[in-house]
Symmetry: C2
Subunit: 380 residues, 2 copies
């Protein structure tokens, strides 16, 4: 078990009707005016927007609104929000939506105090403070509601980068799983894959952090079981709740305790894929890459993947585990190959260039261009 | 899955050599002077005291010392520490020891600002602030290093009460499992039972919080496996680390998410037992009470305990699960009956009076005097 630091100051209110508390919580923190960051408008259809603004009004918290954050959120939109937040002299960010909205809101809270937020992404500036961040989650997937990460894509340079800082942890996140009942199953499954991928990025680092490995198995199995239940019945609130909380825990620090920095090779590849094709969701990309990554690396180091196959999928080897995982994803209607994602073999050189831009990827297994090439060929 | 609030702002530094960071962390928080709260002196033998004061000295943090906190810590000692802390005008509390030392230090941090800390224990005053709390843990058991609880015994009234407040969460806790290598196995086993009891107090509330139930099973099994390994080899640092982190998680909020307030009936009984006999450790008392509680209540509601028996002990029924648990505790050399703890049957009336002082105990199963009497008879 490796040494580690754990610090997650985010307060979470979880359950039905918790959204009604957003205004009083902000008032308690003496927030007079915030910027409400949102996506394409689904929160107006599922009732979340009404719940939020009623609570703000009731508690005398003023707000301005910035709509239109897209999946795989962009630097252009982020810069626009930062400028608006400054002009309106807001005291806090309230992000209402899924991971893309939350990441954008969080990055805006830090960018509010920086000359150029992208400089922090490329390591040429540092986040030393941020506006207080409040979130209301509408899609469980990225774990952004309870961590200090914010992933943004620069469309000009085709770079999708994750910024991490203690200042990016939300002060408060509200997770009402019932608002996710109206989601198309495609989004639920993609979110589940995203959460599983966060667990798996840590899982293969060592075999000594027994407490964390056992927790990670508990969470991965709960995610799979809950997603199966939701496929059968999207209104199963208990399955929805368990999927939501497992997704939050999947990237809040708990799943990495004693497992170092994790690997993150699959995420590096997926970030390039969805930078190339912004319509691809993070979970869809990861669902294609992760089985191939395990398939490829388990040939080199089969023992490292045997516990995973046995504990998560009750299979006797990594090979059977990968088959089982693909069967599960296929049953959920997820894409299984790069071709399914609309990527052709002749685009591989461009993709490889994007992936290896900063050298090798991964920590447990460091992969260079040639190895990633082989891995990607397994994805066709 | 029940609605819940989760908020745990404690920063944890976990692993070998982390104690060396205590001074720099306090300096960063602009602490000039603290009160070091400690127990009977074991930290002078295991090297922890030297590591702590070297780090404080190196970073220019001044300190005064208050020694002599005993297991089942008392209000008398707490009052003495509060008075000393005020006289010395300290800015923070640094508790170095096991759960009793940490609980006393945490209560002192709050008591510093109150006329009479015991009033907060009996609900006649409220904790609204506290000095910043730093801890260095030397015995994994109570989880006090990462929660807002502080249990104190009033010897005059023979009451042992738990005070909980968001202000009692340590700002920073350092857990170096290697300093526990020199512990007698008795303390390790007792701590393991304490941690398991925290998990079990939540475990039987409902069967819908699947993510939390699965995590709780993961932790309970890791605790048992690690304790077995430490019995065979007390210097097994990896087992020590996994036991330590599991014990911390057992009562940091994670194990209760979606499980309401938990039951806490067994804790109420044990608090009376160790208020009557202060030499009895919390874990020893719980090891006697918990199997009897399950034995007694599984006759009324066998289904509620079947998952526990199956998942934790691979047994087919609660009856076999209880037998397995007692066998495990007996194998660890733990007391199995009230008689083993030195309590006689003719003391039951006194004990019952103490337990039912504030009415029934427990939340999942509310138990009155007659039922507790039967339960205690099962402990002989």
């Amino acid at each position: 078990m490796q040494s580690f630091s754990f610090h997650n100051p985010t307060k979470v209110l979880f359950g039905e009707n918790q959204i009604a508390n957003i205004g009083s919580q902000m008032k308690r923190d003496k927030i007079d005016k915030c910027i409400l960051v949102a996506g394409g408008g689904s929160i107006k259809n599922n009732g979340v927007y009404d719940q939020v603004v009623q609570s703000l009004e009731k508690n005398g918290v003023k707000w301005v609104e910035s709509w239109g954050v897209q999946p795989n959120p962009t630097l252009d939109k982020l810069d626009e929000i930062i400028e608006f937040a400054r002009k309106e002299e807001v005291q806090a960010v309230l992000a209402v939506g899924g991971g893309s909205v939350l990441d954008t809101g969080k990055a805006a809270a830090a960018g509010f105090f920086l000359d150029n937020i992208w400089d922090a992404y490329i390591g040429e500036d540092r986040v030393t403070k941020a506006l207080p961040i409040y979130t209301v989650l509408t899609l469980s997937a990225t774990g952004s509601e309870m961590n200090g990460n914010a992933v943004i894509t620069n469309m000009d340079t085709k770079e999708k980068i994750c910024l991490s800082s203690i200042h990016l942890y939300p002060k408060l996140s509200i997770i009402d799983p019932s608002v996710q009942n109206s989601l198309p199953f495609k989004h639920t499954a993609s979110g589940a894959m995203d959460a599983m991928a966060h667990i798996f990025e840590y899982y293969f680092v060592n075999d000594t952090a027994l407490s964390t490995l056992a927790i990670n198995e508990a969470l991965a199995k709960t995610i799979i079981e809950s997603t199966d239940r939701l496929q059968a019945n999207p209104a199963d609130l208990n399955a929805r709740s368990n999927l939501a909380w497992s997704s939050t825990l999947a990237l809040n620090g708990i799943t990495g305790a004693g497992l170092g920095f994790g690997d993150w090779g699959c995420h590096a590849i997926e970030h390039a894929i969805s930078a190339l094709r912004p319509h691809i969701s993070h979970g869809e990309g990861l669902g294609v890459i992760f089985p191939a990554w395990i398939e490829y690396l388990s040939e080199k180091d089969p023992m490292r993947f045997s516990r995973w196959a046995k504990e998560i999928f009750s299979e006797s080897s990594a090979t059977f585990g990968v088959k089982h995982m693909r069967l599960k994803l296929s049953g959920w209607g997820m894409p299984l190959s790069l071709r399914d994602l609309g990527i052709q073999q002749d685009e591989l050189p461009i993709l490889l260039d994007m992936i290896v831009k900063s050298g090798t990827i991964g920590n447990v297994f460091k992969l260079g261009r040639d190895e990633i090439h082989i891995l990607l060929m397994l994805c066709f």
